[in-house]
């Protein structure tokens, strides 16, 4: 039972009062003593009250202090939790940034092997790991480290040897999913690996791309086991990223390799073609030189043959019998044909060798056509051929008049040759942009399509009834082609069997510019 602090005081007052009444004191003394006792008692009561209040205040303070301390404990525990959450958040944010950075680095990596080396110390620590080994697998037995972070070369070599000797590489590639190895473990291989890396926890995964070299990753995290939460997910993302990068770079390497091979082949073929072309040019020049030299050598004796035959034929050396005159006439005719052939060959050789320069003169079309028609008029009249001209308002051509005359006469002579009696030949000129297109069309037998590409070759003659009857050198069209090309023009043929053929060629409107112009 708790006593009121005033109870002893009241008992004391009662005792003093009884004492005073019991002793024989005068009233004054009794009153003074009583008053002194009462004063002391009052003082004691006040003192006791104050003390009581202070004690109660102290109790309240103590309680408040304890409550504050409890709150401090709460604050510390909350802060610890917040701190850990913040750290985890920081780690994840840093990992995300690091993954992004890695992604950017991987995008510019072109060598599959080098991709595994992109996982450097800075990135690794950003992921929260302190040590790491990243390697490229050769087959399923061997691994070569591309990145060694925080692991000494000797330790890395020991780990490599252990992984290879224990068959870990094979099993890792067979089951590439990320996993965490932690001490204590019952797996002796894992135990050895952890010991070699002096780590209590190692995150392991394999990178198995569809194309390109496979790899393996071993990452060690220092610190709390709890900090490794999410390591398998992180490693999963990492391996996927690396795998895609390896595939991309392997693909790129393949494409690049093919392109390089193709380029090499093109380069080789171009060189071969250039060499062949050079050889052909040399051969062609040699041929032209040979033809030119031979033609020159032939022309002199031919001129003598022709001269003597003509003299004999004229009867200056006595009268000739009919048979003699006929044979001499044939000699003259064949000598003329041979001279024509030699001249054509010489012209072709000269044009090919560039020894002939085509003049670039204006040619009045009207007069030019009159000359042409005059040249072929006897043959046209003989076959009653209708010659039509279509000039499209063109009054002038540009070129070498002598050579172009040969072109037109040659083409018209051919057309007359193959056009039947009362047929039609059309000579047309047409403006076509910066050039003039000329056409010589007949209504003859036409040319077989397979023969068209060979028509401009020297000595080629089409196999038809007309050619069997009429002699020719087979050089006319070859010469025409070279003259047109020497004028920077093109020549081609359109033909339909039984309906006729058309020879088209182009000539420039303006004089051709020289390189120095």
């Amino acid at each position: 039972m708790k006593l009121n602090p005033r109870t002893p005081i009241l008992l004391f007052i009662a005792a003093v009062s009884v004492g005073l009444l019991a002793f024989d004191f005068d009233w004054l003394t009794k009153t003074l003593v009583l008053m002194a006792v009462l004063g002391a008692i009052c003082y004691m009561i006040i003192k006791l009250d104050t003390q009581q209040r202070q004690l109660e205040e102290l109790d309240r303070l103590r309680t408040g202090y304890e409550k504050l301390d409890k709150q401090a404990k709460l604050i510390i525990r909350t802060d610890l939790e917040l701190h850990r959450t913040q750290e985890e958040l920081d780690r994840k944010l840093t990992s995300l940034f690091a993954l992004q950075e890695l992604g950017q680095q991987l995008r510019v990596s072109l060598q599959p092997d080098a991709i595994y080396g992109q996982l450097n110390a800075q990135l690794l620590t950003s992921f929260g790991f302190s040590q790491g080994l990243v390697g490229v697998c050769r087959g399923t037995e061997e691994v070569t480290w591309q990145s060694m972070i925080g692991v000494h070369e000797t330790a890395a070599e020991q780990v490599r040897h252990h992984l290879q000797a224990s068959g870990w590489i094979r099993s890792l590639l067979a089951n590439p999913a990320p996993r965490i190895l932690t001490l204590p473990t019952t797996d002796p291989n894992a135990q050895k690996l952890l010991e070699l890396l002096s780590a209590s926890t190692v995150a392991v995964a394999a990178v198995v791309p569809q194309t390109g070299p496979a790899g393996c990753i071993l990452l060690v995290r220092e610190g709390q086991a709890g900090e490794g939460r999410g390591d398998t997910e992180l490693l999963g993302i990492l391996t996927t990223q690396l795998s895609s990068a390896v595939e991309n770079s392997a693909l790129y390497e393949e494409v690049w390799g093919s392109q390089r091979e193709l380029e090499q082949k093109i380069h080789l073929r171009t060189r071969e073609l250039a060499a062949a072309n050079e050889q052909l040019t040399k051969l062609n020049k040699a041929k032209s030189d040979f033809v030119s030299a031979v033609s020159h050598e032939l022309r002199t004796p031919l001129a003598a043959i022709k001269g003597y035959a003509s003299l004999l034929h004229s009867g200056q050396f006595g009268p000739l019998v009919a048979a003699q005159a006929e044979r001499l006439g044939k000699i003259e005719k064949h000598a003329d044909l041979l001279a024509q052939l030699i001249n054509d060959l010489l012209d072709i050789a000269r044009i090919e060798s560039g020894r002939v320069t085509m003049l670039q003169r204006p040619i009045e079309v009207k007069e030019f056509l009159e000359t042409i028609v005059e040249s072929v008029k006897p043959q046209i009249d003989a076959k009653h051929i209708n010659l039509e001209t279509q000039l499209d308002g063109i009054t002038q051509l540009v070129g070498d008049p002598t050579q172009l005359l040969r072109v037109f006469i040659n083409l018209l002579s051919n057309a007359i040759k193959y056009t039947p009696e009362s047929g039609t030949i059309t000579l047309a000129l047409q403006r076509d942009g910066a050039q003039i297109r000329a056409k010589v069309q007949d209504t003859g037998c036409g040319i077989a399509p397979e023969e068209i590409p060979r028509l401009f070759q020297e000595f080629y003659r089409t196999s038809n009834a007309v050619n069997e009857k009429v002699k020719g050198t087979g050089l006319g069209l070859a010469l025409v082609k070279r003259i047109v090309e020497a004028h920077q023009g093109k020549i081609w043929i359109t033909s339909e069997l039984g309906k006729g053929s058309a020879f088209h060629f182009t000539l420039p409107v303006e004089p051709a510019k020289t390189e120095s112009a």
């Binding site: 404990k73 510390i76 525990r77 302190s130 925080g150 220092e222 086991a225």
Partner: protein, 399 residues
């Protein structure tokens, strides 16, 4: 190049130690050319082969004093780094530097300090001594004795500052650089003399959160009892025994408690000396990173980012306020603060650079302890190892 610009920084994250040291030294020495490098302060990750790293540095700078050591993170002007090497090379004609080293700190710390100072003072040749920057093994204690050894030679008229080197929170082995040697269980230092002044600023930004308790039993860095109770029970009381047990099982107890150091109130001031808990003893004791003295009052401290960042600004201001011009700045930042700040650690470097200006070369490291001068009594410097602090050392010219 003017005199105040004769300090240059180089850094490298090359995974090869020799290449990293060489690249960092080359970057710095190129900036100083044609001047010859007179001394180097280097910090590097503990993951490197330290001998190779120093060989790489000396391959470029030659046989000049190289001091520093392994860290719990490197500080470059661009922000915090890991797995890298950062160094500051000097080439001042008016500054004299002397390197010293002392070994066997665990056995005779006083002698280690004495040897360090004896070697460092040699090149001074009567020039005024301005201050010593020392680098100790972060896994050892006894630095009060090291300091006494140093002060036996150098006296107490110049500040002794520096840090205790880390090992990337592995707590296995730290290295201290002395020339081409990577020492352990040692203390190395670089004494500055000549026409320079050293400004020091230190703040931590931690605040007390628990009830104050009196240290009733302690020996050196082992705290046995608080208010007659096993010291570890205080942490159990505040964090919860189950939480601590889980942290212990996960192996992250020490790393986690770095953010909640013990604060030992200094006599006659409102300052707190911070002590990290390195481990829990079997007998319920707490093994701290620095000495704790019986009779002192201690409290569990708590920190938050903004006060920590403000503390860095304040410490920088303290360091540079009495200097006429700042030549270079060294940051010795507690690893506790790095953990506290997390991704905001880069902001701390930015704030420091904001105070000193962008042109001043600055490097540093995250350390296991900071050798902090606690002010002067009648011109005599007092110093102590502290944890959780941001220590700024500015080398410049006197006002």
């Amino acid at each position: 190049m003017s005199k105040k610009e004769l300090a240059a920084i180089g850094s490298s994250a090359n995974p090869d130690a020799f290449s990293a040291g060489q690249a960092a030294a080359l970057t710095a020495s190129k900036q100083l050319a044609p001047h010859r490098v007179q001394g180097v302060i280097a910090f590097a990750s503990s993951w490197y082969d330290q001998a190779q790293l120093l060989a790489g540095i000396q391959n470029i700078v030659g046989q000049v004093p190289v001091v520093g050591g392994t860290t719990a993170g490197e500080i470059t002007p661009l922000g915090p780094k890991t797995h890298s090497c950062v160094l500051l090379a000097m080439a001042y004609e008016d500054i004299v530097v002397g390197m010293g080293a002392g070994g066997h700190v665990d056995q005779d710390p006083r002698l280690a300090g004495y040897q360090l100072a004896q070697q460092a003072v040699q090149p001074m040749n009567g020039k005024p001594r301005r201050g010593l920057i020392m680098f100790g093994d972060g896994l050892l204690t006894g630095y009060a004795e090291v300091l006494r050894g140093i002060q036996e030679v150098l006296g107490t008229s110049s500040p002794v500052t520096g840090c205790l080197m880390g090992d990337d929170l592995r707590f296995t082995r730290t290295c201290q650089y002395a020339g081409d040697q990577a020492l352990t269980n040692s203390v190395v230092g670089l004494l500055f003399g000549g026409a320079c002044a050293i400004g020091v600023g230190v703040e931590h930004g931690f605040e007390p959160i628990s009830k104050p308790r009196r240290i009733t039993k302690a020996h050196e860095n082992i705290l046995y009892e608080l208010d007659g109770q096993p010291a570890a029970s205080v942490y159990e009381e505040y964090f919860g025994a189950d939480v601590l047990e889980n942290l212990r099982k996960e192996g992250g107890l020490t790393r986690c408690l770095i953010a909640y150091p013990l604060g030992m109130q200094l006599e006659s001031t409102e300052q707190y000396l911070l002590r990290n808990i390195m481990s829990f003893g079997q007998d319920g004791s707490l093994i701290c990173t620095g000495e704790v003295s019986e009779g002192s009052w201690v409290q569990i401290m708590i920190g938050s980012k903004e006060p920590a960042l403000e503390a860095a600004s304040l410490a920088t201001w303290q360091a540079v306020r009495n200097l006429k011009a700042v030549r270079f700045v060294l940051i010795f930042d507690s690893v506790s603060r790095k953990r506290l700040l997390g991704r905001a650690a880069a902001d701390e470097i930015s704030r420091i650079r904001k105070v000193i200006g962008p042109a001043v070369p600055v490097i540093g490291c995250y350390s296991y302890g900071e050798q902090t001068p606690l002010g002067q009594d009648y011109g005599q410097w007092r110093a102590s190892v502290q944890n959780g602090a941001c220590l700024i050392v500015a080398v410049g010219t006197e006002k």
